[in-house]
Point group: C2
Chain length 147, copies 2
DNA sequence: TTGCTCCTCACGTCACGTGAGGTGGC
DNA sequence: TTGCTCCTCACGTCACGTGAGGTGGC
């Protein structure tokens, strides 16, 4: 999961973490305030320590903001679902719990992921139409140049 | 240009205009405050009157916000360019002005439209990657269901 | 002790939302 | 006169930006 070049043993301070993630320290503190991202570690003095997984989570938040235009409330739902999926995989590997309830959980996660997929598809459609309009405008400008 | 079902002779009050455009009255007043959209008409009493072209401009603003994620400063640039293109077409039909300067203007508009096209392409690329990830996650969940 | 990084308020910004209180034409 | 729509402040919200002033470990 941690493909950011940070070993899982060494945790970063908020300054280094913000620099690596390409966000502000304020943003990291704000995500924590909203319960979106709790740093993996802390010093006795109350300083935040971020892991590679934490940085991956920050990247995911920014992606959901910029690519899909979700707000932080909506992102909390998506991240919550992804956390549940990860927990489900753990539960499947260790053969604990009842199969009946677990299958229901998987179906629930699948439904939420399908909703996300539909949102992406809708965005793609809108972008394709937009691109066609821009291309048409460019074509008309080109023909204007050829008198 | 006006394909919103509003005849060009009858201008709408801000309430009807906002309802048709699917935005708030506050948003229309805010766009005017920023110089993005000046209503085509006004009553002696100081009430705003919106034309079909005004509504099309509002739709364009919302499209640039939601599809491309531009802020209102960036949208002002795009709209300014589109206004110049429209003015250029007028100038080409009436054979006024010098051909030399006009061609330069067209080239300038073309450059800005090409920038816009590049932004759209980048968004498409990001969305395609995102969709592939969602599909992979859905596939893994489906295989979990098949035990 | 000196830097450096970190901490918590707390006010500013952008794109509006949402009343508060008053005006204007059928 | 009564509704209805419109007007201008003006404060609230979301996702942070940006200092202000103080703390903590090498």
């Amino acid at each position: 999961v941690a493909s950011t070049g940070v070993e899982s043993c060494e945790l970063l301070g908020i300054g280094a973490a913000a620099a690596r993630a390409g966000v502000s320290e304020r943003a990291l503190r704000y995500y924590q305030e909203l319960g979106l991202l709790t740093p993996s570690g802390a010093t006795p003095g109350g300083m935040r320590r971020y892991s590679g997984d934490d940085l991956a989570r920050v990247a995911r938040i920014r992606e959901l903001q910029s690519v899909l235009g979700l707000n932080l409330d909506e992102i909390a739902v998506v991240l919550g679902n992804e956390d549940r999926i990860a927990a489900l995989k753990e539960a499947y590997h260790s053969a604990a719990g009842d199969d009946r309830g677990r299958a229901d959980l998987v179906r629930e996660c699948l439904a939420l992921e399908s909703d996300l997929r539909a949102a992406v598809k809708a965005k793609q459609e809108a972008l394709a139409i937009f691109l066609a309009e821009v291309d048409a405008k460019i074509g008309r400008l080109r023909s204007l140049l050829d008198e």
